[in-house]
Symmetry: C2
């Protein structure tokens, strides 16, 4: 059976303007590879309702799982929850279970529960809450869309809350062999290896270090013995001194 | 006149598998903001022809400029040039001008011009070459799509080659005010400011540092005097000790 597929939607003007360097994509990509869910597409859009709604609909229809990051805080630019509700034609309002969570946590810390803070209890009807052990305000899952915070520490905690409940596949294994030779000379012999192992994927990632050209050849596959065999062949074809 | 719009397409399995952390998106986002071109969407897809072709078509039709990163080297997984040609129904083959560039550079370095290296001279009919001062093999522009390398140093050099030829808009200015107060308490007063400056955009980016919660409030706009005025109001509403 093929692995489940996934897409990610990163939401936020701060990524598109170059103010913030996204790290959530890199984190999620690694975690999904580990559990055997194939991340096949990522989209980044700004804080604009129409674009968010369109992206949620398109990705939800095309992939088994969708993960969103950003736009679920208490301020005016946090519109993700409402957009996801709109994408699935669901009613959204402050929900009692989420309100209770927030109220209890704030009272324990002696913090005033403002109207703005309660915005974070706005959850679409029928959604399941995603636990947030870092700062309480929950994420949520509607159908196949998992809505999570943009702050990296919170995003990572929510990913850890969600993943155990999903059906994974066969984890993708990878090994790397570094070849100290320009990619243009690697390409020919590498093509032979690619043809000899049709079930594996080979990536070639060139680098230059102190003026010396080389490439990291990454072999990926779900069968560890095959990956091992390919790496041994690589070492024979491209021995390092 | 509104600023020109742009999208970016990042191509490569290594990003989606979590092996590599993309840096080209962050670089391009900053450069486009500087020249007044609004980056409105980014997509990341793997090394699969169908997906690349579909994304090039969709983004080229929706935005003024499209920038791609990755998949134009000499190895079997470098299929971007062929996909872009297919997206625009153009013939592609080794082109004399690109071949001459490569041959001269390789000969000067005493490097053999292999068939695989010549793959990098495959350029769609009618495309304009993009200068690559780092490693010679050119990128190219077809219609509104600028096809560039994935290796960050080469990507950055190609961006520098392309941008001066594009029509920019009014650069987006931004200033940041750090508020040492939890976002839930900032949200209410901030809403009033957002309404007072309808031409500016306000972003709120929470952080926690040594257990203290705060947020960076970023004011963005094209009118420097308005941005200044908003920052002064922010400082009045949220004074720091």
């Amino acid at each position: 059976m093929p692995n489940p597929t996934a897409a990610m939607l990163v939401i936020g003007d701060e990524i598109l303007s170059g103010r913030t360097r996204d790290s959530n994509m890199y984190h999620l990509a690694g975690e999904l590879t580990r559990v055997g869910i194939d991340l096949q597409e990522v989209r980044v859009v700004g804080d604009e309702a129409e674009r968010i709604i369109a992206a949620v609909k398109a990705l939800s229809a095309s992939y088994d799982e969708v993960f969103t990051s950003g736009g679920i805080g208490p301020t005016h630019d946090d519109i993700t929850a409402d957009c996801v509700a709109a994408a699935f034609d669901r009613h959204i309002d402050i929900r009692d279970d989420a309100r209770t969570l927030l109220t209890k946590a704030y009272e324990a810390r002696g913090v005033v529960v403002t109207d703005e803070r309660l915005r974070m209890a706005r959850i679409p009807d029928g959604a399941a809450l995603i636990d947030n052990p870092v700062s309480t305000a929950p994420g949520f899952t509607v159908e196949n869309v998992h809505v999570m915070a943009g702050v990296p520490k919170v995003f990572e905690a929510m990913v850890a809350s969600v993943l155990p409940g999903l059906t994974g596949g066969t984890p993708l294994l990878s090994q790397t062999w570094r070849v100290q030779m320009p990619e243009g000379e690697i390409a020919g012999p590498l093509r032979g290896l690619v043809e000899a192992f049709p079930e594996l994927s080979f990536g070639s990632y060139p680098y230059s270090l102190n003026g010396v050209f080389g490439a990291n050849i990454v072999v990926r596959g779900t069968d560890g013995a095959q990956v091992d065999a390919a790496i041994i062949r690589l070492q024979e074809v491209f021995p390092n001194d």
